[in-house]
Symmetry: C2
Subunit: 397 residues, 2 copies
């Protein structure tokens, strides 16, 4: 049966770029592990985002994948950038990006990073407390400041809990202080949480922002920016709202729920733009039976790039294919899939259905692997992170 | 009161090297974050380990901290090394170590790593399955093989679950296969689990190994090595058995529970040798109140080296000091301590008591930070890992 299936396999999920189909990757003469990104797919994702959210400027949240090739592609497509640190700004500067076009949206920043970003020409800083305003006023005098509001993020895969965000009722006092400190009241922002699963979360957050904007008007404060933050989802194995639906919701909410439309409507997509554009190829280095269960050992684990699989008790599912002929059509077994290190915590998938014959030397292809993979990677146990590869014409190496 | 307390602070825990006392670190003119290791303290830990376990050869588990300065210090002190990958072996080769002195104890290895290690002169490989024996026989013919036994690791902080280890009843069949494949039956090993809290775990494991050795004798197989594995604890905030107590237990168990004494008794200490010899200095970059709780933001987080704080639901406690005068004597508050990134998962400590006045610009010193910190570190969110610094005469930079 296997011979008859050579070259056949179950259809790829819609999120998987045809350019990264397993049979096309198999001819890449690079040892596993590698992470291959289709830069054209990244460019298409940005185009689609822009079409779905007309009038919204995309500031790519580069924390999710700061590969220069991706930054270059997104910049060429018209995106700007959001940074979490001075280190990220320095990467952008090396690429020739203008710091004046960059948002610094980490609400709590090292004073030295604020000063150096200001010296480089960055002029917009987020904040969520009086302390941060004092820091900004001291190290970036006269800068524009935008307030991070605490919103309900319970619909996301990674709620941000209470780490960030001011309460809406604190906004007026905070902007009054900002003015007193010589800062420029500039905007509002929020974060519905990473990989947000419902469009309603944006409507609620925009409604909240509208009420804050109205309150500020009473103080004579008219803001220049509403930043919708991140959380725009990518497709993995579960359904997520298409960006067009989010766009429809956001446009309606902006039209209906704001007392005025700020001059700049910003958003900080990260995962949404890059996750689906990349495939991680992991080599099978061992197959064992442990206490009656099938275990598969890969040459890339949680600490080489699959961190998100161990951050949540519920795990993290990637669409999976393999080099086994007829993948998805041949008989399967379920496997515990673990990394190459000696750590037991380095175990990524439980109960994953894979071809029953998969074995050492085969390759597992994880789709939607472009976000929050290499950015978390270390060389734990001496195993290097996946090698970054790029295909596509949009500025590839 | 503060002025009168300048220079005073609560006594350091016994595990904290005097050379790394906070008042001595404050004169180091290096920006935070940094990880400073006293190489003399590393050398002393190895000496004490050797004295407590006479006749036991230490093979340092370099996965826990592969800094060349530490490897050099331990090698000068008479230790050899245990590697988890070819990448680690390459680091040792660059330092001039002889691969023939190195143990390769990761039970599931990439075939290409086996072949390259064998070509470099490494001749001892662990295994725990028929599949791994076939791999070794194919890529490192004639090599010596030692069997990883599954033992009870429930007394450790990081039990290794079922990822590794053969059942004792499988040993005879496995060594029979090893001989049939032309391999040299060489030894037994086990792992009681990282940071093991009870000496009884070693006695139980050695007793189990003794029963396996006796069974193998019936097949005419007499092994050359018993490798006690790792798990030797370091002091953090909870009490752990001193190495002398572990040594007493191990010596008694070896004398009483083995049918014969193999020529080589090995051990793979990692954390035990290096954790207490280093202090991590983290700068305070923010202090906020969130929903009535005090939050402290540091310039190093879970993804820059404090991974172990988020691996276990119970967290991980380091002994903590700060640059606040009179630390431990002045009034305290409890804090949620979080990292510099935008991730909420990047939160390291909950309910940590710290001086009430601690604020931006102060430094938090985490003791016993020499193990499993930099080895897990990435530059997530653009924040670099702590800079490695070394003091002491034993081969420092």
């Amino acid at each position: 049966m296997t011979a008859a299936l050579t070259g056949l396999a179950a259809a790829l999920p819609a999120s998987w770029p045809a350019s990264l189909a397993p049979d096309r990757l198999e001819v890449i003469d690079v040892p596993t592990p590698y992470l291959v990104t289709d830069l054209d797919a990244v460019a298409r994702r940005l185009d689609r985002f822009t079409a779905a959210l007309p009038g919204v400027r995309a500031f790519y949240a580069m924390k999710c994948n700061p590969a220069p090739e991706i930054l270059h592609t997104l910049r060429a497509g018209g995106a700007s950038f959001e940074v979490a640190s001075l280190g990220e700004l320095r990467v952008l500067e090396r690429l020739g990006a203008d710091p004046a076009e960059v948002l610094y949206s980490n609400p709590v920043k090292p004073p030295a990073h604020i000063a150096a970003a200001y010296a480089a020409g960055l002029w917009r800083f987020s904040f969520d407390s009086p302390n941060e305003l004092h820091k900004i006023a001291g190290h970036a005098p006269g800068s524009a400041v935008y307030l991070r509001l605490h919103v309900d993020d319970s619909a996301s895969s990674f709620p941000l809990s209470r780490k960030f965000g001011a309460e809406p009722h604190e906004a007026r006092e905070l902007f009054t202080l900002a003015r007193r400190l010589g800062l420029r009241p500039y905007g509002l922002t929020f974060h519905v949480g990473s990989q947000c699963a419902t469009t309603a979360a944006w409507r609620r957050a925009i409604g909240l922002a509208g009420r804050v904007l109205a309150g500020l008007l009473d103080d004579g404060v008219r803001l220049e920016m509403l930043d919708l933050g991140g959380g725009f989802p990518a497709r993995y194995t579960a359904g997520v709202p298409p960006i067009e639906d989010i766009g429809t919701t956001v446009r309606a909410a902006i039209a209906e729920l704001l007392p005025y439309r700020p001059g700049l409507i910003a958003a900080e997509p990260g995962r949404h733009l890059v996750a689906e554009a990349a495939v991680l190829a992991a080599g099978v280095i061992g197959r064992e039976v442990r206490a009656g269960q099938n275990w598969l050992f890969l040459d890339v684990g949680a600490y080489q790039g699959l961190m998100e699989t161990i951050q949540l008790p519920s795990g993290w599912d990637f669409p999976v294919r393999s080099s086994v002929p007829g993948h998805g059509l041949v008989p399967e077994l379920t496997f515990t899939v673990t990394g190459p290190s000696c750590d037991s915590s380095d175990t990524m998938f439980h109960g994953l259905a894979l071809p029953a014959t998969i074995d050492v030397g085969d390759v597992l292809y994880l789709g939607s692997a472009g976000a929050y993979t290499l950015s978390y990677a270390s060389a734990f146990n001496g195993f290097p992170p996946p090698a970054p590869l790029f295909v596509g014409r949009s500025g590839g190496t």
